[in-house]
């Protein structure tokens, strides 16, 4: 293998590097600079002022949104993982090779449907005169107020992250060493105990990464909290869209965005450390 830098090699490696440096890294860096700009007479001015940070961090609205977004995204990560696990387990251990390939294919389809359309569709199910309430009415229940609740937001988060979590869990479960499970059975370990003592620890990396992705997706999503949750409670993503779209307070939106990125990096770092804890590899 030739290793020297050549025109040939650079032709292939440079374009992506340049594109991502100019259009991905620079915008993110610019966001940091922007958070120190000031707004005077509805115009942004380059500056180095911590006023935006002080203002945003001094607002209880911001911290309420932060705490609620954290809580909702964490809950979504746990809920999605717990709901997805039996399904992934069934697909990984109880299906034939062919059936599993179909299961994977079907779980990929949602990625190519519009998330917005699916959220609108959930409105049809959850609204006061919607499908679920009509069905409950048949057995004499309801109507319940389902739309514009935190529960509806969770349905939205599930819609967003469930397929990805299932796929990631499925791939990690497929690679669990079957002889370990047999060994556990031979040692008279019960089914449930085998799942918790053998299967879950063996697939830990994949399971944690799946939950992490669910957290990241839910943390940044603004569609479900607005169109299923009714905008209440206000999440950080709603704060960003509101602040950006209504006027020139972009520097403040930048403060929120940077806070979100730092939070996500911290969570991702902790999750990955937890996932690989005690692994020598």
């Amino acid at each position: 293998m030739r290793r020297s830098v050549s025109l040939y090699g650079l032709t292939f490696s440079l374009p992506l590097l340049l594109w991502q440096l100019v259009f991905f890294v620079s915008p993110l860096c610019f966001l940091v600079a922007l958070s120190f700009w000031t707004v005077k007479n509805f115009r942004m001015q380059p500056d180095f002022d911590t006023i935006n940070w002080v203002t945003m961090y001094g607002r209880s609205v911001f911290w309420m949104a932060y705490a609620k977004t954290m809580a909702m995204a964490s809950f979504a990560a746990v809920l999605t993982s717990v709901l997805a696990f039996p399904l992934s387990y069934a697909a990984a251990f109880k299906l034939s090779e062919t059936a599993r390939r179909w299961a994977v294919f079907l779980m990929v389809i949602p990625f190519f449907t519009s998330y917005l359309v699916r959220v609108y569709s959930w409105q049809i199910f959850l609204s006061d005169a919607g499908i679920i309430n009509v069905m409950l009415g048949w057995i004499g229940l309801g109507p319940f107020h389902l739309l514009n609740t935190v529960g509806a937001t969770m349905v939205g988060y599930l819609t967003l992250a469930f397929p990805l979590v299932v796929l990631l869990q499925m791939f990690s479960l497929v690679f669990v060493d079957r002889t370990l499970i047999e060994a556990a059975h031979n040692l008279r370990s019960g089914r449930i105990r085998t799942v918790f003592a053998v299967v879950i620890p063996s697939a830990r990396v994949g399971l944690v990464i799946a939950a992490l992705f669910c957290f990241i997706l839910s943390f940044g999503d603004f569609v479900s909290p607005i169109y299923l949750g009714g905008g209440d409670p206000t999440t950080l993503s709603i704060l960003i869209t509101d602040t950006t779209k209504s006027g020139q307070q972009w520097p403040r939106a930048a403060v929120i965005a940077i806070t979100m990125i730092i939070t996500l990096l911290a969570v991702a770092f902790m999750a990955v450390r937890f996932a690989y804890k005690g692994r020598t590899k």
Partner: protein, 279 residues
């Protein structure tokens, strides 16, 4: 704790049945909104629910006669095509770089090549909007293309890299030994071998761009793509038109994906068979 051997078999069947039922419920949950959107796109009621109204194509007609929707579709197709070509080219280059070269800072390079889809779209949207309006590029189709390439190139890179890892590493070296220049080896060995992945990447990146609404919403200004229009419908007069557009976009995206799938597996299998026969 102890397994009662005689009925262990029976128990296992009950558990299997329960698990498989759960599996079906899970898939039902995933496909319920997709199916509902399809069904209600043909339903006459203004406020969709059950029992169904009569069959009607009204929403498709409403969509088809809306000039704004057509404009959105034009923008989507234009953006999608350009994004597919650029991000596939960039992704191919990055995948080949990873396949062939070892260099200092390669981990950083790969992180840059794979990271963008993990950044929340609201943040990416805001960063793009702020940056692009600074350099006077925001508010037009260019802005959407630039941002979508950032998001789509990693997918193209992953697909091509997967294909390259199936290639015998000595093939390229053999071409060099036979006197081919690096360029000729690229042209006659690497590109033909990765052709299915390149085509697949073109379709997948187009499909990703077709469905992306958040970043596009931030940066597009007046040149809205179709998904941004849908977001507008969702904000304004909620109407079953969303279902009609959704069904249309779903069919388009699925066509792209299935074509990509056929190209990736069919052509790949054929090429492998041909290679085996040549051996």
């Amino acid at each position: 704790m102890s397994d009662q051997r005689p009925d262990a078999h029976q128990r296992s069947r009950t558990i299997d049945f329960a698990l498989k039922t759960y599996l079906l419920i899970g898939y039902a949950f995933v496909f319920a909104p997709i199916a509902a959107s399809f069904v209600f796109s043909f339903n006459s009621d203004r406020f969709p629910s059950i029992p169904l109204g009569s069959f009607s194509m009204d929403w498709y007609r409403a969509v088809a006669t809306d000039p704004l929707v057509w404009e959105g579709l034009r923008n989507t197709l234009l953006v999608g095509t350009v994004v597919a070509v650029i991000s596939t080219a960039l992704g191919f280059g990055a995948a080949y770089t990873d396949y062939r070269y070892k260099f200092f800072g390669k981990q950083a390079y790969m992180a840059l090549a794979l990271l963008p889809p993990t950044i929340p779209v609201v943040i990416l949207g805001l960063a793009m909007l702020a940056f692009l309006s600074r350099v006077d590029l925001a508010g037009n189709a260019f802005a959407v293309i630039i941002s979508h390439v950032v998001i789509c190139a990693p997918f193209a890179m992953a697909l091509t890299r997967l294909r390259l890892s199936q290639m015998d590493a000595s093939l390229e070296a053999a071409a060099w030994n036979l006197g081919a220049s690096e360029w000729a080896a690229m042209r006659h060995v690497i590109i033909p071998f990765t052709a299915p992945a390149i085509l697949g990447a073109l379709f997948i990146t187009a499909a990703v761009s077709f469905d992306e609404f958040a970043v596009a919403w931030f940066v597009s200004g007046l040149n809205e793509t179709l998904p941004v229009k849908v977001l507008g419908f969702l904000q304004g007069q909620v109407s079953p038109r969303i279902n009609a557009i959704g069904t249309f976009v779903f069919v388009t995206s699925m066509t792209l994906v299935i074509v990509a799938q056929v190209l990736l597996t069919g052509r790949g299998a054929k090429a492998q068979k041909a290679a085996l026969e040549e051996e």
